[in-house]
């Protein structure tokens, strides 16, 4: 077998040549996971903040459920979303199965609990310090959630990055609801799974390294942005 040095060489030549097919796959990965995390941000972060701030019966139970869903295997999410989107399922009429939209939906389901759980922890810590003063200024829960989300924006970037990491690296859900269709729903992880099944391990590793480099690059970018903005307000 070519081994690791061959894999490295393949990865770099792929990047160097900027192979159009690889570029398409990388682009689709970024679009699907990017959109899923964006939608997840607008659902998960407020949800987490509400769980931190709100006082309602069953709050503890809700927090436990969200934490539990955080560990949901992506294959399970994939199967459930598949059954929902399937032509024979409740949302079958939309014909979304085996499209990028289906992949976005599955990844939203996947990242929302993770992002909500992290957001709940982050917001709750800050809320403990702010609670009295916000109450004295007569903040209702809605405004409290809004102010806390804004105030925790630097720490919450961790939740967004964690969501992006999970979305981009999961394979089970997108494989099932996307179908790994060439030039249509093939993303980096499903391409890696396919190359592995063809026994083309060096290419699989090469693609894996592209994925790793991409995630590292996104994290580094977010980190740089965060430190430059944070320098002003921490």
């Amino acid at each position: 077998m070519g081994g690791f040095s061959q894999a490295f060489a393949d990865a770099f030549s792929l990047l160097w040549d900027f192979d159009a097919r690889v570029f398409e796959i990388v682009l689709l990965s970024l679009q699907v996971s990017g959109l899923a995390v964006l939608i997840g941000t607008f659902i998960g972060l407020p949800l987490g903040a509400c769980l931190a701030v709100g006082s309602f019966p069953g709050k503890q139970t809700a927090a436990v459920i969200v934490n539990g869903f955080m560990g949901l295997p992506s294959v399970v999410v994939g199967v459930v979303v598949y059954l929902v989107l399937s032509r024979s399922g409740p949302m079958g009429d939309f014909g979304l199965l085996y499209t990028p939209s289906a992949m976005v939906i599955a990844q939203v389901v996947l990242v929302v609990p993770l992002m909500a759980a992290i957001a709940r922890q982050v917001v709750e810590d800050t809320w403990r310090q702010y609670r009295e003063e916000l109450a004295a200024l007569r903040f209702g829960w809605r405004d409290t959630v809004r102010v806390l989300l804004h105030d925790c924006r630097f720490s919450l970037s961790v939740a967004v990055l964690a969501g992006l990491g999970r979305a981009m690296s999961e394979v089970g859900a997108v494989m099932i609801v996307g179908g790994n269709i060439d030039r249509s729903t093939r993303v980096m992880t499903t391409a890696i799974a396919l190359e592995t099944s063809k026994g083309d391990l060096p290419l699989a590793i090469a693609l894996g390294m592209v994925l790793l480099a991409l995630i590292l690059f996104l994290n580094a970018g977010a980190f740089a942005l965060r430190t430059s903005v944070m320098r002003r307000f921490e």
């Binding site: 310090q129 109450a135 200024l137 007569r138 804004h150 105030d151 307000f233």
Partner: protein, 239 residues
């Protein structure tokens, strides 16, 4: 619609069995500065939080001039005010957010208030990098901007140096002049003599005396108050 006279009758706060407020009787008029004095653990901070509605009293009556409690008319500044991770101007406008004031209007009102408390040139700085005194002025301005009828101040100058104390006191006087009733706690007896119209002396969760500032320091009627003044006075005058 007046909140005053504000009457507390037999107000009790007894979390987990230990009485922090043990039957407080107190009547406050709508003008001037009332300073609450008392030894540590007398219940001063708890009294302010109870009036503010942050702690539920476990007994007694708080009578707001015969009307109902209007939370928007009562403000409070804390010993260690919260500074959001944001600019000075964002922080001072904070109290207007739950009052439904639009962003543009908030900004204008905030800028005017920053002029008034002498922080206009710091408007876009990081609020967390202000000095302790500046943060306390910001906190006062933040609540002042909501135009409360009753302002509660909990040890507003406890950890400040003398010049910062003076700047804060100047603002407190301004707020009083505009007709806001102020009820504050302090450990600084010099500050009490400088600011107070009347003194409430709290000990063991009860009001022991409520008299004019002159009378309190010249003729304290209770033993506790006498001891308190003698024990505290020399140390605080050293400032």
């Amino acid at each position: 619609m007046s909140l005053f006279p504000l009457q507390l009758r037999d107000v009790v706060f007894r979390p987990n069995g230990r009485a922090v407020l043990d039957g407080v009787d107190l009547t406050l008029s709508g003008e001037g500065i009332t300073v609450v004095l008392g030894p540590n653990g007398a219940g001063k901070s708890v009294l302010l939080r109870t009036i503010c509605g942050l702690l539920p009293s476990t007994g007694g009556v708080i009578d707001w001039g015969g009307g109902s409690f209007d939370p928007l008319a009562v403000g409070m500044v804390f010993q260690h005010p919260v500074m959001l991770r944001s600019s000075v101007i964002d922080n001072i406008a904070l109290g207007l957010v739950p009052r439904g004031v639009g962003a543009r209007e908030r900004r204008m009102a905030a800028m005017a208030m920053l002029e008034q408390i002498g922080l206009a040139d710091r408007a876009n700085d990081n609020a967390r990098q202000l000095s302790g005194g500046e943060q306390q002025r910001l906190a006062l301005g933040r609540v002042w901007l909501t135009r409360p009828r009753l302002l509660l101040l909990d040890e507003p100058t406890s950890s400040l140096d003398p010049s910062a104390v003076e700047a804060v006191e100047r603002i407190v006087r301004q707020i009083r002049t505009e007709g806001t009733k102020i009820l504050m706690t302090t450990h600084n007896l010099g500050q009490a003599t400088r600011l107070a119209d009347d003194i409430v002396f709290l000990a063991g969760g009860r009001v022991r005396e409520h008299v004019s500032v002159r009378r309190f320091f010249s003729q304290p009627s209770s033993v506790e108050a006498r001891q308190f003044i003698q024990g505290e006075l020399p140390w605080h005058l050293a400032f």
